[in-house]
């Protein structure tokens, strides 16, 4: 087990949810101060080093220019900072695991830089860091991710449980999370985590996380794995109270469904990059909510597991290794992410939120999902309807706390 996975396992054994921020700033001094504050927060924490957008798209020249001009970046440019600089950022933090979070369809330079800095935990995936993050062909991403995984010996989390941040029905999130983890394992990674992002309905989410655990048990029995929940990844409440409520509900969801780790969101989410203090407050608030929640044994089955199983099996039955199978699956539309503009996504699937607040399919394209799961009663897909769906969770939480 890696230092990162080990810390998560120890907390889980003690019945504590590990909480983690999304945090990255360009300045090494600020980055270090942020990591220290997270370590010292009143919660079981692991640290995060979030990489900026220039580094994500491989434009290291623009990242260097920004550092040179003192322009603000939305993250830490780990490839552009000297390895010794990053080592100094981490100096004395031994025993405090730090994960590098990026969003890159070609992660090779980032994997190299984090290893050079002595780090061993990161995340992403050939699909989840291509379709929503890049205009690179999926084929290139699969190739780059294969190479990066072959040379990697740490802990790797799939971002497949987040696709587009919002409005992706749970079965597809669960399937992609499992499929990317299977891809990692095929390429020699022995410690993985599977992600699931909180969506629009807590019962549906709990059912999805249970489905994720069932499928991980079935397809990843020979590697070390745990489940990480992301606090809502779509449009966030604008009020501090609404944002806190949604973040706390994510912590309750994680505990209820037996996840080991949670990545939080702050009161600044809807507006701008959060400060260190806002991150610490979100971590402590989530830890408190988690401490008061309890795991649940049974969940209502509305078919998430059956749908996700059908998707995973359909892909793994395709010829070739998992990367080849994923490519073929997207080409044929067996996997099809709603509202994703990437040219390698079929783009026939659509989704909506029904009256009970659950995510439903409006159409499934060529995915092997039974027609009975399709609900055609959704609202008209005009700009107002789309904006209402995107803001539904935010509005509900802002209203509930007023």
């Amino acid at each position: 087990m890696t230092g990162f996975a080990d810390a998560v396992a120890r907390a889980a054994a003690a019945g504590r949810l590990v909480v983690q921020p999304r945090m990255g700033m360009a300045s090494p001094l600020e980055m270090r101060a942020g990591l220290l504050a997270v370590r010292d927060a009143d919660a079981s924490t692991v640290g995060t080093l979030t990489v900026d957008s220039y580094t994500r798209v491989g434009d290291h020249r623009a990242a260097l220019a920004a550092l040179h001009d003192g322009a603000r970046l939305n993250g830490y440019p780990i490839v552009s900072h000297h390895p010794e600089t990053t080592q100094a950022v981490l100096d004395g933090l031994t025993g405090f695991p730090v994960q590098v979070r990026h969003g890159s369809a070609d992660p090779r330079a980032i994997f190299g830089a984090l290893a050079a800095a002595g780090l061993d935990a990161t995340e992403g995936g050939p699909v989840s860091y291509c379709l929503p993050y890049s205009r690179k062909p999926l084929r290139d991403s699969v190739e780059h991710w294969s190479e990066a995984c072959e040379n990697f010996s740490g802990h790797l989390e799939t971002f497949g449980g987040c696709m587009m941040g919002q409005l992706c029905p749970p079965s597809l999130l669960v399937a992609l999370s499992v499929l990317e983890a299977v891809f990692f394992r095929f390429h020699g990674v022995e410690s993985v985590s599977l992600s699931y992002a909180q969506q629009t309905n807590a019962d549906q989410d709990a059912e999805a996380i249970r489905a994720l655990r069932v499928l991980a048990g079935r397809f990843l029995s020979d590697v070390d794995w745990h489940v990480v929940v992301y606090a809502y990844m779509g449009v966030f409440p604008r009020t501090p109270a609404g944002a806190r409520l949604l973040n706390d509900n994510a912590a309750r969801l994680a505990v209820r469904a037996g996840a080991e780790r949670l990545i939080v969101k702050t009161v600044a989410e809807a507006h701008r990059i959060p400060t260190v203090d806002e991150n610490v407050a979100a971590l402590e608030s989530a830890a408190e909510a988690a401490a008061q929640a309890a795991p649940e044994e049974s969940f209502v089955d509305t078919g998430v597991l059956a749908e996700a199983t059908a998707l995973v099996e359909a892909v793994l039955e395709l010829p070739g290794d998992p990367g080849t199978a994923l490519l073929a699956a997207f080409r044929r539309g067996l996997l099809d992410v709603p509202y994703c503009l990437h040219p390698d996504n079929a783009g026939h699937a659509r989704s909506h939120i029904d009256d009970t607040g659950r995510l439903r399919w409006s159409s499934v394209g060529a995915m092997p999902i039974p027609r009975s799961s399709v609900d055609r009663s959704g609202p008209a897909p005009d700009s107002a309807g789309l904006l209402a769906a995107l803001h539904r969770v935010a509005h509900l939480h802002d209203a509930r706390t007023r």
Binding site: V57, L341, L387
Partner: protein, 142 residues
């Protein structure tokens, strides 16, 4: 006139819900839209503009690098002989710390026809495209 809008993300920005939404909004207002999607480098943007000759270019970015990526995109467009005059607007969450009026003014000074970076963005944009369409109609009629 063909009422064509070229809609694009910026070089470092992968957000697309903004683009999906703006495409619908523009189409509902009667415009034809070419949506280039996310992570569009300046050269690709300029190539597409040369090929399509849009009446308006709309840049949308929310990742916080707008003050850097916006001017780079505009400079590439203005460097192409056929694109010296096409109006270009930009909007979204342009910096990392909320709206900054001084930076928005700098973008206008750099040559953006309008900057939409705060809570009034969509209301002002609707007015802008209505006025823009009227202008174009007047222009072709005379």
């Amino acid at each position: 006139m063909n009422n064509l809008v070229l809609l694009s993300g910026t070089a470092s920005d992968s957000h697309t819900w903004n683009l999906v939404y703006l495409q619908l909004l523009l189409e509902e207002a009667g415009h034809r839209v070419i949506n280039l999607g996310a992570c569009v480098p300046p050269v690709l943007l300029a190539d597409e503009c040369e090929a399509e000759q849009p009446d308006l270019v709309v840049l949308s970015t929310v990742n916080g690098h707008g003050y850097q990526d916006g001017p780079r995109a505009l400079a590439e467009l203005r460097g192409r002989p056929g694109l010296a005059a096409v109006p270009v607007v930009i909007g979204g969450k342009l910096g990392t710390g909320g709206p900054e009026p001084a930076q928005a003014d700098a973008l206008r000074a750099a040559g953006f026809a309008e900057v939409f970076d705060d809570d009034t963005a969509i209301a002002r944009f609707r007015e802008f495209i209505t006025a823009h369409a009227l202008c174009r109609t007047a222009g072709t009629a005379s």
